[in-house]
């Protein structure tokens, strides 16, 4: 069954199956990730300029940030502003 609710308004509840402490020696909370990991595990919320394609803009961001790889999350029409 598909929910009639807008997906970004669905509220979820967490239920606990078992309890355990996490070992602070391994990993990091995402917001405390060491700064070298920021680009590596990062996502930009970009306001796309009109004109260039989503693909082109993605390549620009990759170059600006000197990133090894970049990919966008859903094509926005290049000529969306007529």
């Amino acid at each position: 069954m598909q929910s009639a609710k807008v997906p970004w308004e669905v509220e979820r509840k967490l239920v606990v199956k078992a309890e355990e402490e996490t070992d602070p020696r391994f990993g990091h909370r995402p917001e405390e990730r060491p700064v070298q990991g920021y680009v590596r595990f990062g996502v930009i919320n970009l306001d796309k300029p009109a004109g260039p394609s989503s693909h082109e803009v993605t390549a620009w961001v990759k170059r600006i940030l000197d990133a090894k790889k970049a990919g966008h999350g859903g094509t926005l029409e290049a000529r969306a502003q007529a």
Partner: protein
């Protein structure tokens, strides 16, 4: 500016599939080909709520079969002569240019899309840290120059943000590295999970610290998983965390 285009960097590109499949929201200016009373426009727009059928446009990059798309919400905001401003919340892969055309057909006068701005792509919304190219380049420059770590945090979101709308399963430290090696998630590894997960749902698997481990497919429902003491509960679809962040703890690891 045409709005929200989330761009994933390096390892985070593995999480992009979650965004491609998430719902989008747009504000659109539609141009009608004849003057039409506002109440008529309003009622026709409302008819497009729910499930619609769309044939992708000729120049689309997908197969041009007629397909169903879900319109979660569609509201008239303003009219000005033949220009109609509306807001639409829709399933991924809905063509708004096509939607305008089809609304025009139903109205009888014809219509086309004049301007479009995306206000949301899944968890990424317009009001939440949207940056333009100039700002990104400026902040990156400041970061490089000053080495001040507060700058990257101003414009780069952790990839976990991209998974915000997916149902989640949190797991034990000891279960993490097995998933990083591609293993399925077994019931004893689960610590907590979201309600209303159904078999075959897309889920995201997290550490207790909130780091993304993998995108997965649920092999059981929330209720079933809570009762299971052995067996697999989710099949890994895309591993997001590199190996070796957490220690190997599965049998035979030493």
């Amino acid at each position: 500016m045409t709005g929200v285009l989330p761009i994933a960097l390096e390892e985070a590109t593995k999480a992009v599939q979650a965004l491609l499949l998430s719902g989008k929201e747009y504000v659109c200016v539609m141009r009608l080909h004849a003057e039409t009373p506002e109440d008529r426009i309003k009622s026709v727009l409302e008819e497009f709520r729910g499930t619609i059928y769309q044939r992708p446009p000729v120049r689309a990059s997908v197969s041009r079969r007629l397909r169903q798309r879900r319109i979660y919400d569609l509201n008239l905001l303003e009219t000005d002569g033949k220009n109609v401003l509306f807001k639409v919340g829709c399933q991924a892969g809905t063509y708004i240019r096509k939607l305008c055309h089809d609304v025009g057909e139903v109205l009888g006068c014809g219509a086309h899309m004049r301007e479009l701005r995306r206000t949301r792509a899944g968890p990424f919304a317009e009001g939440e840290g949207l940056m333009n190219l100039h700002e990104i380049s400026y902040l990156y420059g400041l970061w490089r120059e000053t080495q001040d770590e507060s700058f990257p945090r101003k414009f780069i979101n952790p990839m976990e943000k991209a998974l915000e709308l997916l149902p989640k399963i949190f797991i034990r430290d000891s279960a993490v590295d097995a998933l990083c090696h591609g293993a399925s998630l077994a019931a004893p590894g689960v610590l907590s999970l979201d309600t209303e997960i159904e078999t075959n749902d897309a889920v995201a698997v997290f550490t207790q610290k909130g780091e993304a481990v993998a995108l997965a497919k649920a092999l059981a429902s929330t209720e079933q998983i809570l009762k299971m003491d052995h067996g697999f509960v989710a099949k890994s679809q895309r591993v997001l965390m590199p190996r070796g962040v957490y220690p190997k703890a599965w049998r035979g690891a030493l």
